[in-house]
């Protein structure tokens, strides 16, 4: 009797255990996948490892340099030694003897600028490279001058040139040293001394294009009627530079006139100079008043604003004073990463003249100031004439020389590379940290594209293909930015965790507790029967 019952019981408990196992199986095999697929955050696959690999890629520009002329071997060796220390640039120096026609050219040339033009035509110095020509004729060099920098990519040196000086000149021709430091990493920037740091921070962030807006501010149109043909001025002065820069960056120039609104300044009368003085510390406050009217609702490109301000009659003439109390020469100031403001004083109307008073503005002064500001806002390498160094003056002062364009392109590629690196790396970090972040296929595609172009860009820079590098980098930068700032990335970011628990707990707790507890019984299926059988027997 006992045995029978026992068997029955055994069968019952076994059934129960199988049932419990069934529940657990359904929960695991059906419940878990359903839960997983309904709540999982969609994430396209991202090339994490490639990003890490590319982050470690060396960041330098290969720059070809040809040394032409009958020189001793020491010049090239010394030069190479001196240039090797430069960070971010690898020089590939080649040496050759001058060709016959080149020598003939030197002999027949009238002046150095003539020689510069003609030599460039026959030498074909490729974009992104430099050439140093050793000229034996001393007639071209003034006394004390041993290096002359040409308008294109040629530099002329005397045979016995100071190698130290030559390498310094070449270093600052190749890339703007501050831009180079900034691109190498922000840490280096902090180590810079104060003045240089400010200088480096001034440059606008590198983007594929900029909106350049010229704003003429006329606070008192009833007193003065300004005649300024912005279109002609832009076409004459700014257009050539814009065209020149086209291959490197796109500038879209617009102009506008703002009436009845002035800069928010309170200058003091300076009896020494017989004019109103605007102290330097007031300058940062001036643009606040007009900022509201400068924005664009259409473009997301960064803007460069150049404001031409006609002072009010009661503040005329107005001059900017530097910190030492002396009026500045240019009467204009640069706002870092924003643009520039120039104060244009106009002749005062005679006492009994009828209003308004017609004034024509000095386009040349305005546009040359704008160009100076523009040069300083972009990382364009520049040279200053020092002892032993002469720079050939450009035919048109506003135009850039070819080596400056190359230098700008190099600096921009460096910035792009470090920006892409930062953007993609922080994207990866964010995605790792925030589990709610959705990565749509669109964003994923952009990241893949950006990574691909990024590696192409780095490769091109290392091989000295400057134009291709610019192209690849700007595309990669645009895609990386588009991915990073895509609105879908933020879609689920603010869904709080406690709400999830509020939904899960009422369902999962009452269901999972009995199932988990009954697992003990399921385990019994395997372990318990054997000892019991022994006992029965």
């Amino acid at each position: 009797m006992t045995k029978l019952v026992e068997e029955k019981d055994m069968a019952g408990s076994r059934e129960g255990a199988w049932a419990a196992a069934g529940f657990a199986a359904v929960l695991v095999l059906v419940g878990l996948p359903v839960w997983w697929y309904t709540t999982t955050v969609y994430r396209a696959h991202l090339p994490y490892s490639t990003i890490v690999n590319l982050s470690g890629q060396p960041l330098y520009h290969a720059t070809g340099m040809t040394l032409v002329g009958e020189t001793t071997a020491t010049l090239s060796v010394e030069l190479e030694k001196n240039l090797r220390s430069m960070q971010g640039i690898k020089f590939q120096i080649s040496k050759r003897k001058p060709r016959k026609e080149e020598i003939a050219m030197i002999k027949s040339a009238v002046s150095l600028s003539d020689l510069d033009n003609k030599l460039t035509q026959i030498m074909h110095v490729a974009a992104g490279t430099l050439a140093v020509f050793v000229v034996h004729e001393p007639d071209f060099f003034e006394s004390n001058v041993s290096i002359i920098v040409g308008r294109h990519r040629l530099t002329y040196v005397k045979p016995g040139v100071d190698v130290q000086l030559l390498s310094t000149v070449i270093k600052s021709m190749v890339i703007d040293p501050l831009a180079n430091k900034r691109a190498q990493g922000s840490k280096l920037l902090h180590q810079l001394p104060g003045m240089h740091k400010r200088e480096a921070m001034r440059q606008v962030p590198t983007e594929p294009g900029y909106d350049v807006t010229l704003t003429l501010m006329v606070p008192e149109p009833h007193r003065t009627e300004i005649d300024w043909d912005a279109k002609a001025a832009v076409n004459e002065y700014l257009k050539p530079v814009v065209n020149q820069l086209e291959s490197v960056t796109k500038l879209i120039v617009r102009s506008q006139v703002l009436y009845m609104s002035g800069l928010n300044v309170s200058p003091k009368w300076s009896t020494d100079h017989e004019h109103f003085a605007l102290p330097q510390d007031q300058l940062p406050l001036t643009i606040n008043a007009i900022e509201a009217k400068l924005g664009s609702f259409v473009w997301t490109r960064p803007s460069l604003h150049f404001v031409i301000y006609i002072p009010r009659k009661k503040q005329m003439p107005l001059h900017i004073h530097s910190s030492d109390g002396e009026p500045t020469e240019t009467n204009s100031f640069l706002v870092p990463r924003w643009g520039g403001v120039m104060i244009h004083n106009i002749p005062l109307a005679k006492g009994n003249a009828s209003f308004p008073h017609y004034v024509t503005l000095d386009s040349h002064w305005i546009m040359s100031t704008v160009l100076t500001h523009l040069h300083r806002l972009l990382p364009i390498p520049s040279l200053k004439e020092t002892e032993g160094l002469k720079i050939l003056p450009s035919l048109d002062t506003c135009l850039l020389t070819e080596w400056q364009l190359d230098g700008l392109a190099r600096a921009r590629v460096s910035y792009y590379l470090s920006n892409i690196h930062i953007t993609l790396q922080s994207l990866c970090e964010l995605v790792g940290e925030i589990s709610n972040m959705v990565i749509s296929d669109e964003v994923g595609g952009w990241v893949w594209g950006a990574v691909e172009e990024w590696s192409e860009c780095g490769q091109a820079a290392r091989e000295g293909r400057l134009q291709e590098a610019t192209l690849y980098c700007s595309r990669s930068f645009t895609q990386a930015d588009a991915a990073f700032f895509h609105p879908s990335m933020l879609a689920l970011l603010y869904f709080p965790d406690n709400q999830k628990y509020a939904i899960y707990v009422p369902l999962f707790l009452p269901v999972s507790i009995p199932v988990i507890l009954s697992l003990k019984m399921v385990l019994g299926l395997y372990w318990k029967p054997s000892p019991r059988k022994e006992k029965v027997e």
Partner: protein
Amino acid sequence: MGEFAGVLLVFLSCLVVTGRCRDDTFTEELLIRPLTSGHIYSHFEFTTTWTTPEITRSIDQYRDFEFSHYDLFPRAFGEIVERYHVRELHLSLTQGLWRHRKWGYPIVDAPPGAQLWVWFNPTSENLDQTWRDLVNALSGLVCASLNFIDSTNTVSPELSYRPQGLAEEWYAGNSSYMRYAALPRENVCTENLTPWKKLLPCDTQSGLSMLLHPVPLYTAHYHALSLHLRPSCKDVSCSSVHLELTQALSLVQGPTLSSSGHQDWSLQQLFSTQLIYTCPLASMSKIYVDVTGNRDMKKFTLDPEPDIFDESGSGPSLRQLAVYDVQAALAGDGFNIEATYKSRHIYGIIPSPHLHVSRFITGYGQEGGSITVKFTNSGSTSLSVVYLEVLPWYLRLFLHTSHSYSHTKSPVYISKLVTARDREQGWLYEAVVEIPASSTIELSLDFTRALLKWLEYPPDANHGFYIPAATISAVLPTPRNVSVNSLTCSTLKDKLVVQDGPSFVRLHTETLLVSLPTPDFSMPYNVICLACTVVALAFGPIHNITTKKLVLKKIENKESSFSRIVHRVKNIFKRGHKVENDCVEKDATKEQVIVEENPLYEDREDLEDITEEDEDEVKTSNKTENSQETKKDR
């Protein structure tokens, strides 16, 4: 040669008159009209026109504008026009309802809320995407929620919104170039006024815009801001064209009755400020006071005396305007116009205008309903009007029952019908309705209400859903009550000249409020909790029944090994008290037996039979051990 001389002459004359030749002009005008109802209607109009060879070319060839050097034309707006292929743009932001029956027809009619209609240049780009980008840019520009315009409330009506500017027939007849949308819920306040004022060349520093103080503006009965861009003719012969941007602001202020019952008003009283400076950039700065029927100043007098009187029209459409040239009048001091009435204002029956329309919802409950439109033609000739209804998809129309009923059955021709698709597209119902002379007809559109998804409800769902105003366009036989019937002119001065003959009017009806079936919004959470509880409640017993068997068992003192040891230790100490132990022993052996009932258990009889034996073997052995121990103890 003659041409050259002409050009030279024009150039020289420019130099003589203004010192330089501007290619853009700015004018500012204000019309003040005392209404028969005792209200004061004031309409500001700021017009900027711009003409350059490039603009002329763009207008003629239907190409995008390319501006790069802005002077009087606002750059922020110009960039939007340029970027999004706009040829003609009309935006209005309105608070309050214009009452056509009492007030006549306004200069620019606008429905309550926001309204935007745009004619685009023919481009290769996807126009729907351009439209989406445009509304986003505009909502940034005027700080309005225009970004709520999407495909569900955008339509392209065929007849109602033809281009107002220059357009050839092939373009004007192709409604695929235009988009129309209205947001009836939009509120208008100072945040819209400030950016609107920023577009004016003189800002609010001087000129008529000085009068735009927010407090009197936003306490008015009706307030409409608008922005109209169109290509138009420079002169009557249309030999040259220009781009015209009109910024208009209309106000209807409440009856300004003094304690004596007079309808006196002044600029100071209406706008809480006087005019102090003129805008030096304006080539014209004028204020017009409508003195129709008061030419001889018998009804009210104006102080200061107007410079001149303009008169136009005849018979019932006569219009007399007192004109003030502000630039000449402003000589240092402030400028104020005061109107003093001779007699008390008498409220009487106001003769209704030629055509007026009212619209309302009929039906009860939340099941069905109908939108009823009542057209009243008080004229002596029959009128055909274009009736445009743009409805959201969540009203499901029954077009087969849409019909008109009146004394004489009048026909309805549907010119365009777009049926709604859920969450994608709204209804467009555009019809031409014939209204017989001096009669009223009603047109009704039956609908049912759809159920929305819970996320589609607005934050205050129980307030109801706004239905945009219907648009009625008609050509009236006479210019009676019509403010503007010469649409081709640029300045208000020319627009206000009454021209005899047929006049085009466009009216907007009331917006409607429909309440949809609204759920309780805590419902989803409640449903989750309830459903989970039910599942949990059901799951527990099912799990128990299927995995566990209920069996009969004796309730005994469950002794764990620990308690057994304790027991043993106790017994060692209490060896002397055998009697007591005996008692305990007796209690212990008196084992209770409980039968647990389980209706599902079939072997109930078996269960009773085996009551005694049915014990776990282990426990039995335990028990025997226990009894052996107790025996030992004894």
